[in-house]
Amino acid sequence: MRPEVTFEASVRRVEGPLVFVARNADLGLNSMIEVVDREGRARVGRVAALDESTMVVEVLESTLGLGVRDTRIRVRNEPLLFGVGPGMLGRTFDSIGRPLDGGAPLPAVRRMRIDGLAINAARRALPRDFIETGVSSIDLMNSLVRGQKLPLFSGAGLPHDRLATQIALDARLRKGEDAGGFAIVFVGMGVSHDTAAAFRDAMASSAALEHTAMFLNLADEPATQRLLTPRYALTAAEYLAFVEGRHVLVILTDMTNYCEALREVSASHGELPSRKGYPGYMYSDLASLYERAGCIQGMPGTLTQVPILSMPGDDIGHPIADLTGYITEGQIVLDRELDRQGIYPPVRVLPSLSRLMNSGIGAGYTDADHPALANQLFACYARADHIRILASVMGEDSLPEVDRRFLAFGRDFERSFVNQQGRRTLEESMAIGWRLLRGLPAQELTRLNAQQLARYLEVSPHA
């Protein structure tokens, strides 16, 4: 590793988070830099562009108070690295990986690039281990598997934090859990003090805190830093997963704040905006975070992500939700209307999706009849939804008897399946599912085969 060099730089201009510095050191693109002000306070930055005489440094903290003449630059000619090592669990870090809990500094055994390296697609192992979250609308309908990236698409004021916390605490494997091997990384981006505190309290009350590392970028911290927080946290998560061999669940909240920061920084670079002012590279930028989830052949640990985003205006077509949906392996959509009806968790099942479900459920993974049951419930609930629209003008009375039974099914599905208090095993969720189907005419249940009809719905094959 090259030694640190400190030199006086002549800062030529400060513009938002960007500092234009005379180029009198031989630095490469993306090098890490510390900008030290008059009082000796260091701020982290990175080299964003270079020409022969100037380098553009993106300061990742506030540039407030930086002078043009009295600023020194301390450099390391290497990209941003994070010193990771044992003992990260149970600790709390700031936006850029510095201990925030007053505890001892971390004994770093490895310095890893915060941007990570792309996982070689040819070396990925397929995520296949079903995680039982205890939530029916997830476990039965949109199953989560280890190594998946499955976001919660939510809206302001909806109980996404509660659901995410519940998943973090309740999730377990159905096969005997390999004990001690799990870890939770909580990444708060632009979150309020109370969100962070609530999460910590929840973890503490169930003794999960010692398995948890928290990275906090609070709402009042600069936007540039917010772009780094998930990168530090994911670097820690990669270390925990692929070096220490743990099964790591990363909760990222709130991706919307992250994207706003991205937009802000992009604007300060004078870049041409794409949709709604967000930069054209937002897809690639988000992918550089989300694609860090996964399983790797020959490595024991896994990295699962549950990012949370609040959809501006509850609009699933908003660029933040849209681009996320194009990258992640599905989404769990929370719905204001269900929430208003007092249904918890207010999961809107139809637009929700788990793309990895098929590889983690069925015979040998969960239950041989799990896929068919999920399919049938989807088909029936979608039909109920469709009939609801048909009936919206003329009322239920204009409907044939069959359709009315579907409507009743739809209501029941929301009230007694989606809605739940406490944890349910997959078996319990499936039992409710079969019970609901019994209220429908058997000949409409085309996603089930004769054996399933006979076994669960007591329909004789020759009926």
Partner: protein, 591 residues
Amino acid sequence: MTEARIRWISGPVLRAVTADVFHAQEAVAVGAGALLGEIVQLAADEIVAQVYEDTTGLKPGDLVSGTGQPLSVRLGPALLGHIFDGLLRPLDTQGAFIHPGLGQPALQRFAFEPAVRVGDTLGRGQAIGTIGTPRPQQCLAPPGISGVVVTVAPAGSYREDEAICRIRRDDGATRDISFAHSWPVRQPRPLERRLPIGGPMITGQRVLDILFPVARGGRAAIPGGFGTGKTVLLEAIAKWCDADIIVYVGCGERGNEMAEVLDELPKLEDPRNGRPLMERTVIIANTSNMPVAAREASVYTAITVAEYFRDQGQHVALMADSTSRWAEALREVSGRLGELPGEAGYPAYLSSRIAEFYERAGRVSTLGGREGSVTIIGAISPPSGDFSEPVTMHTRRSVRTFWGLDRGRAQARFYPAIDPLQSYSRDAEALAQWWQIQGNPAWTAQRTAVLELLTEQAHLERMARIVGKDALPAPQQATLLCAELVSEAVLRQSSFSEVDRYCSPQRQTAMLSLVMRFVELARAAVQRGVDPERIAAMPMRALLQRIGEQYGEHRIADIGALWPQLESDFHALERAQPAAPPAAEAAHRAP
């Protein structure tokens, strides 16, 4: 060798000063790691290049050296059955994480069987011999090379770059030929001439083959919002279509999807010859977390590989998931170059790039006089699923088959979620003859009937919303019932069902004919006063709704055997008809 020194760098784009002569689109090696790049703009003493790898650490003063060649890839026998990055560098020999500066593939040995003798005249595009890979390949001279064979290696095992044949060209110059040769990706490989539409490329997916078929050498697009089924459909086609060679390019999409293809293909057998599907497949993976500029190159790499196999007389299918990411990469680089943005920030040349790409599809007579084809199927990821955005609109003008995916169907888990009212195939008419020869003379009539039924269904549902479903006259209720049956029984097909994921043309014909016969009989019965509810309750209807799952490829004959049952069920229905008001009167039942 030409040299330049970096003057400015930001992200994947650099400017470098030079006194040497560089050429437009020349490939360059950048910095100490010799990162691969390509010149995108030239001025008197300055070049602008995009770099295909992570530029971290590069700085002004670093060396940029010219290669004298446009961006090229090495084509040869080592491609089939393997996975590569966007610049055709093998990934299956790399570690868990990709470091910048991937090397070129190690040279491999292959068995060779000559097909020419010394003194023979080797015409353009003619094969020199056969290369012994699991799926035998032809050894071709690079396009345009012809002459008299001076030496040719005897049968044996040779390394990819070893000369196995020497040719004296007309101008007297000699040229050594080996298994592999390199070809610039942005330059279409020459062909003798284009051929008109022949037969369809059978995808094995009923909704596509029956309603919106694509021709061999055709061009199809699959637009759809996230989660509507683009990737699963592309993968299904890659697995089950009747092409000889598959080139699958994952352009800016998920790593896990590539891993899944890699995991599955070796385990699956080609239904036509029992060989592992992986043997016929080349995978090019430039996932969303890999460098953006290489995303742009990857689709050209893929089409070049496809053309290479076409030139061996093969029918090739190229799947590109997703062309939108390619367009976005163009936009990003264009933005960094400071070009004037057009619609939605895309450069003005977006539409011509898309057109040029699809133009490389086609059924052709190769230089060697063989018939070969490249069929392109490109996924499009329109922002918020809105088809009026630039990439979808420009692509629409370039393709002949359009498979629009519908969010509502996908959310109801009705797959493939093809919207029959938005999709089309301009090749359907030309392909009718093929189906006739294959034993379904009624194909066109059935296809038209299905499309009409689905159009009517949409119309009736709008009406039912206003007047109430119960108020629809019996024949219209029957139409709704029939449309639902056709959707359930024929159009729906799960890619995850071992029985139904592939449907041969014979089984398609058997299923479609039977279901359309049901529709005919149902409508006739209702005309004669049978209550649609009684048709809905028929066990035969329930059976047909599960027919795809119950009657796999081995039970095609059993489908035919259901005909008498179908006819007699309807007879029984009408005979047992209670004294009910005829349909016409039922229509006037109160609300």
